[in-house]
């Protein structure tokens, strides 16, 4: 087959029979991928926020190469953005892409390796490589196009570089905006909104930067208007309430501020660091302080010191950092020092997959400490919850006087979603530290015998003098080695979880309250699980979902809920032995982390379907598994 070389505006690949009229769609997934440094991420984010402002549901997620400066035109170098748009709320990054704009064919191969395409995906490809001075590149390009077409992608070459060159000397700094224009045309975006958003992004740059970029957008838009007969139509209902768009790490950062966290103490680690980058720029504006420590051990102990001194404190980390904080978290439990610990989970074990998603730190959070170290563990499932849970966690840490671990992950960290602008309230800020006298004679651990709760004296408080210790101690914080004291103080620490448990209500079931299969999840998988459940339930299959926010203690009523389903299955992004694997005797099977907890807690034969692909689970993958499970049932 002769290769299609774009010569002009009307050249459309043989597969490219484009419809003349806007094609209505309920949701669409768009990707822009380039070499890193070509700005695909900015364009993608803009496309997302323009769509969000128009009232579409949106989920955007960054495509980040593992290297700092990967070689150009390389598969692992793919850098960019995936934007999923919907008529209504979009909860996850979805399955394969519907539309893909690629600045070169190699980065597209990178996305193919990650399973981002399917036969029928529409690919717009810069045609500059067809005429590259280097014959190898021309050949690579030609071969790639052939391969893509074989795979069934609908490839459309576009004169991306060529068109940009008309406007800017270095097209590497222009292609992204031109592409944005093309997409605005393709999806009929409101160009007034587009203009505003572009303006916002470049507001801090020189005016001519803004103008140059806007010209590029317009050029792309007009080119597409003229040359692409194709249009998609995704209806949208702009929301009346104020809406914000941000990623999970930004939401964590702002949530910590809204919680009145006074000290954030950290050591850099991917994928948690960007939350602290943001805080580094802004925490001071709300009167707070961020400390970059010499290591994670120092970071958590610094936070413990600040919290002991009455200042609300948080530490933000990921797996390897959590491992190093193991000892100090035991101290915070033993000495009952409030602390918010945000763990942005990445692939493990060990250094693992630093930039990729996993839900592998649940058991380490619960059981990492030698001895018994009861603590609250919770996991947000949306970007909005990343914000809200910070406030909740800060309050719980204080009320229950100990560390609260909040498990987010790389998926939430980099995923962006519009959500109603939170109403920041003074009552959610941590109250000022008490400095009035402590009730004379009241011990520093005046444990309520039923709840295990006790108020906490803060340095500066008259009569509250005591010495905090990680040794076994009585209610006066006196070191005590006697059997009775150790048993009793252990009860008091554990009791706090039971007390908190009694404030919880059974979780809500998604879709029908009974059926053949209940899918249980936690954390960032919620959107994908519920979407998969919807697809299957909508065909009349009896499947529902349950999403847990609290893992320690587990939420109440689970056993009763499980009893209404024939089968219970967790879906998690962590490792479990496959139940079908013949090399693993059923007795020796190792379960997913939530499945483990649920089995021990409910004695229900909870099964699990878990994977560690390093990327978010796609709704269709889950959907396939649900069908398989239902067929078996």
């Amino acid at each position: 087959m002769e290769l299609a070389v774009a010569e002009g505006l009307h050249r459309i690949g043989p597969e490219g029979h484009l419809p003349e009229h806007p094609q209505p769609v309920d949701q669409h997934i768009v990707e822009i991928v380039s070499d890193s440094g070509e700005g695909a991420q900015t364009a993608g984010q803009l496309f997302g926020s323009i769509s969000a402002r128009m009232g579409n549901g949106v989920w955007t997620v960054e495509i980040i190469p593992a290297e700092i400066e990967p070689p150009p035109r390389s598969r692992p170098g793919a850098s960019g953005n995936r934007i999923r748009l919907g008529r209504t709320r979009v909860t996850n990054s979805g399955d394969t892409a519907d539309v893909m704009v690629a600045f070169n064919e190699q980065v597209l191969f990178g996305r193919i390796d990650s399973g981002a395409l399917r036969p029928g995906s529409r690919v717009f490809m810069d045609n500059k490589w067809a005429t590259d001075p280097q014959p190898e590149i021309r050949q690579q390009y030609a071969e790639a196009l052939e391969e893509f077409r074989k795979r069934g992608y609908l490839v459309q070459e576009i004169p991306l570089e060529e068109e940009c060159k008309r406007l800017v000397p270095d097209p590497r700094r222009g292609k992204n905006m031109w592409t944005l224009g093309l997409l605005c045309s393709l999806y009929q975006r409101d160009m007034n909104i587009a203009r505003e958003e572009v303006k916002r992004v470049f507001s801090k740059k020189k005016t001519d930067t803004l103008e140059r970029n806007w010209q590029l957008v317009q050029a792309g838009y007009e080119w597409a208007n003229t040359h692409l007969p194709l249009r998609y139509q995704i209806s949208a209902t702009p929301s009346a309430e104020p809406t914000v768009v941000m990623n999970g790490n930004q939401a964590v950062a702002l949530g910590l501020m809204a919680a009145g966290i006074d000290v954030v103490s950290m050591y850099p680690i991917t994928p948690a660091t960007s939350a602290t980058h943001y805080l580094a720029g802004v925490l001071e504006r709300a009167g707070g302080f961020i400390h970059q420590a010499e290591d994670e051990i120092a970071a958590v102990n610094f936070a413990i010191g600040a919290s002991y001194a009455g200042r609300t404190a948080a530490t933000v980390t990921s797996g390897p950092g959590l491992a190093l904080k193991t000892e100090a978290l035991g101290l915070a439990v033993m000495a009952e020092i409030p602390l918010v610990v945000v763990v942005v989970q990445r692939g493990g074990p060990s250094t693992g997959l630093p930039t990729k998603v996993e839900q592998g730190d649940l058991l380490a959070s619960m059981f990492g400490q030698p001895g018994d170290a009861p603590k609250i563990v919770m996991a947000p499932s949306t970007i909005a919850e990343c914000f809200e849970f910070m406030i909740e966690a800060r309050k719980l840490a204080e009320t229950y006087r100990g560390p609260v671990i909040v498990l987010t992950d790389a998926n939430l960290a980099t995923g962006q979603q519009p959500f109603p602008r939170p109403d920041v309230q003074e009552k959610d800020l941590a109250p000022p530290i008490p400095q009035s006298p402590w009730p004379q004679g009241q011990p520093p651990y005046a444990w309520d015998p039923v709840t295990g709760l006790s108020p906490r004296p803060i340095p500066g408080q008259l009569n509250g003098i005591h010495v905090v210790t990680g040794l076994a101690h009585d209610e006066h914080s006196h070191v005590a080695y006697e059997s009775g004291t150790n048993q009793r103080s252990s009860v008091m620490r554990s009791r706090k979880l039971a007390t908190f448990f009694r404030t919880l209500r059974p979780p809500k079931i998604y879709r029908e309250p009974e059926g053949d299969l209940l899918v249980v999840g936690w954390g960032s998988t919620r959107g994908a699980i519920e979407e998969a459940v919807d697809r299957v339930r909508d065909e009349g299959k009896r499947v529902s979902a349950l999403h847990l926010r609290f893992l320690s203690p587990l939420e109440p009523g689970l056993r009763e809920i499980f009893s209404r389903f024939k089968k219970v299955l967790t879906v998690e992004i962590n490792y479990s032995d496959d139940g079908r694997d013949e090399a693993v005797p059923p007795e020796a099977r190792r379960y997913g982390q939530l499945a483990w907890l649920l089995r021990g807690s409910t004695l229900v034969d909870v099964d699990c379907w878990t994977r560690v692909p390093g990327h978010p689970l796609q709704p269709s993958e889950i959907e396939n598994e649900l069908r398989r499970q239902l067929d078996l049932a």
Binding site: N301, F302, A306, R311, E426, R456, V479
Partner: protein, 317 residues
């Protein structure tokens, strides 16, 4: 909220504190242990400086020496092995109104705590740090520490330590932002006291190595030094540690040393013939991280809310 009172900033009437006001439990150290002297000196200092007990925090790691906070009737934090300094830095960071003291041991500071030690020097946050150096792990029953002398016997090196000890003074003096380094001996209470006082008054991270007797495990280390005064080199200088003439006269072995001279301080620290005692180095004007960390403490809630709202604006679509 959450059971805590909120009447922030209440003033307490002037009070007078006696020595007993700083005395808590009966110390559980061996008799003759140098830790007793440090405790006594600290209690006297607190009394003389009239430190409000509730505004004083003594932070420590784990070790015999690190038991000290339990015997002070002030706030205290008996932390984790090696982690006294990060905890103390955390306390200090947002409570400029508290007086922070740190008690650490040669194992606690110079073995497991090494990294924090180096970095705490560089942070130069105001606190008085006392390294009680008995050249051994006391609490865990006689293991080699980084300051154990070459060939010094212990339960982990029954044939003697194979390595030259680390010199905590030299190391401290090598770190950026070092601002106060002194050495003293537990068996001369006036000198010990004067050194702690200078440390406490220093506007920054004041590092004091106390040569501390452990009669239980290492009597051979400092008993000879205690007996033979010539093994101590008394550093005199008008900017140095000042003790009563009667006390300073006891030390025959003296040297004038200007504590503003870093190179000289390093040379003194490495004297092999005698233990220098006194102020080796001080630079009061060294930048302090705790002045930075305490910024914004008085931001009123409304201003905080406003700042957050501004940030949210930038995400609003």
């Amino acid at each position: 909220m959450y059971g805590l009172k909120q009447d922030w900033g209440q003033r307490t009437p002037p009070r007078y504190f006696f020595l007993e006001d700083y005395v808590s439990d009966v110390p559980r150290w061996c008799s003759g242990c140098g830790d007793h002297s440090v405790l006594g000196a600290l209690q006297r200092l607190a009394r003389d400086e009239q430190l409000a007990p509730e505004k004083t925090v003594v932070v420590s790691g784990i070790g015999c020496s690190s038991r000290l906070p339990h015997y002070m009737k002030t706030y205290g934090f008996h932390g984790l092995h090696g982690r006294a300094l990060p905890i103390a830095c955390g306390v200090r960071s947002r409570r400029p109104d508290l007086d922070v003291f740190v008690i650490t041991g040669d194992g606690d500071c110079c073995a497991i705590g090494t990294g924090h030690w180096i970095h705490a020097i560089r942070y130069n946050m105001k606190m008085a740090v006392m390294l009680l150096d008995n050249n051994i792990y006391g609490l865990t029953k006689k293991q080699t520490s980084p300051t154990t002398k070459l060939k010094g016997r212990s339960n982990t090196h029954p044939d003697g330590s194979p390595l030259d000890p680390i010199n905590p003074l030299s190391v401290t003096l090598s770190v950026a932002n070092v601002s106060f380094v002194a050495q003293t001996i537990d068996w001369n209470p006036p000198h010990l006291y004067a050194t702690l006082q200078a440390a406490h008054r220093h506007p920054g991270f004041a590092f004091v190595r106390v040569l501390q007797r452990c009669p239980h495990y290492t009597p051979e280390v400092f008993e000879p030094v205690q007996k033979d005064r010539s093994l101590v080199l008394y550093l005199s200088h008008k900017k140095g540690i000042q003790v009563d003439g009667a006390v300073s006269k006891l030390f025959k072995n003296q040297a004038e040393h200007d504590p503003s001279n870093l190179a000289a301080a390093r040379a003194v620290a490495e004297r092999a013939d005698a233990y220098p005692i006194g102020l080796l180095y001080q630079k009061p004007e060294t930048p302090r991280y705790d002045l930075l960390s305490a910024r914004g403490l008085d931001t009123p809630p409304a201003a905080r809310i406003q700042a957050i709202n501004r940030l949210l604006d930038s995400f609003q679509i």
